[in-house]
Subunit: 277 residues, 2 copies
């Protein structure tokens, strides 16, 4: 899936929503715990209820890994289910991986060969050769951490470089644009820093951005669009907890759909306002 196809999907669905599958065994309704693969069971119901409202799903790998091998089976079932039943969905492994070249190659195998994710989130700390193994697959994407939504983002990402006055996250974006292109590289930019999107758009006007932090983490969708939207939308906005845990009864999938629908409606309005649909 390239950036053009992604934009086509956004226009068709009138949505640039990504639903984060941060599926926590301690938070899912009791009814799914009876299933052999409870995280998958929960995800399947969420997916069936929301797939027409969202352009992407983003399983958060930590939540599966916390259950060990059993968690990985639930993850694999989820990824397969999405790829088989919803081929238009952009599938993100939120894994924050990154290591020396021969090791990143193994992580790429895990998410691009053993599973068929479209993309993986990668940490830039170890530099170019830790990122490029993920870019060597045709039609696969790296979503590189630039400016994250957590408080610790200010510890190092905002550090200014001597001489250039660039902040680390800006340097990460600038350097990495040479490693990939608008069809295989996007960036994580937290919604809690919406005004910084204007600075980022000066460096990368055309790249897609994955925006976490709307909802539970406090970011505003309108602000994100104001500073971050481009002519191809250029935004995928994630919401996890506010959708998937909106209700904890047997009706959870219906209520998740309602929440996703509210966000999709807001997105539709914003896409119209910016004349993209």
């Amino acid at each position: 899936m390239d950036s053009k196809q992604l934009f086509e999907n956004i226009k068709r669905k009138k949505s640039f929503l990504c639903i984060g599958l941060d599926t926590d065994i301690t938070k899912v309704p009791r009814i799914v715990l009876e299933a052999e693969y409870p995280l998958f069971e929960f995800n399947k119901k969420i997916i069936d209820a929301t797939a027409d409202l969202t352009v992407a799903y983003k399983p958060n790998i930590a939540f599966y890994e916390s259950l060990g091998a059993a968690g990985w089976i639930n993850l694999e079932l989820t990824a397969n289910y999405i790829r088989e039943n919803h081929p238009d969905i952009f599938l993100i492994a939120d894994a924050k991986r990154g290591d020396i070249g021969n090791t990143s190659k193994m992580y790429a195998k895990a998410f691009y060969e053993k599973n068929d994710f479209h993309s993986i989130t990668v940490s830039p700390y170890m530099g170019e050769d830790s990122v490029t193994p993920f870019l060597s697959y045709p039609d696969k994407w790296v979503i590189l951490l630039a400016l994250t939504s957590n408080t610790g983002a200010s510890d190092f990402q905002m550090m200014k470089e001597e001489g250039t006055n660039k902040r680390l996250f800006e340097k990460v974006i600038e350097n990495s644009t040479k490693w990939g292109n608008v069809n295989n590289l996007m960036y994580v930019v937290g919604a809690t820093k919406a005004e910084m999107l204007a600075d980022i758009r000066k460096i990368i006007p055309k790249h897609f951005l994955l925006i976490p932090g709307v909802g539970a983490q406090g970011g505003s969708l309108e602000e994100v669009v104001k500073y971050g939207m481009n002519k191809q939308c250029g935004l995928i906005v994630n919401s996890s907890r506010a959708i998937i845990y909106a209700d904890c009864t047997d009706r959870f999938a219906f209520v998740a759909r309602e929440q996703a629908f509210l966000i999709q409606q807001e997105m539709q309005g914003l896409l119209k306002k910016h004349k993209l649909i």
Copy 2:
């Protein structure tokens, strides 16, 4: 295991070796492929042959993850085997994880609760709240990436801060010393940058350092000791491929032992030279 116990083990074994279990299904001898859990089978034989020569084992999680859930079973069997049969071994999950607080908490569960690793390697890019969830477990360690051994290390880790003239890896070390202490925090410093160990020792004279990059990646043990050793040794030096893939026949475990023995002998000499044993 605290730093004092770690030093006791180093003195008793006359070794500060860590053996990296970068166990690659395409590189293991044919004989282990017949086993139900081939990576575990390989590891078990390597561990049985080398456990008296090493103070730590470091499974590289990517190599297991590349096989999906099946790989995770091999990883869990390996971790359990080490903890049950060699309780004096410091067990490192080389995972390079790190995410927003609630997600790092899940990774901590994966490696400290679901499995019983002593430590995990963590990427500092997302700052304090991405690291501290791993430090909230008593007797568990974070091994924070500071200066890595790959070529990409120069992309961002060497960036100098305006005003202070500090490099990013120095700022990472300085800031993070406030998050933990010498008994739950150590740092990754690549052996390929041995002379930089002198600068690092000015900031953290007492912390343990995990040194990858000796052997296959080109670093020299003598240089590392010259610039990095302290009164409690303060070094754990990793070797992976040079030991575990020294031979690809049925005799692989014996030859791995020979290679580990050669390194242990060199380490014994260096510990004596520095009057630590």
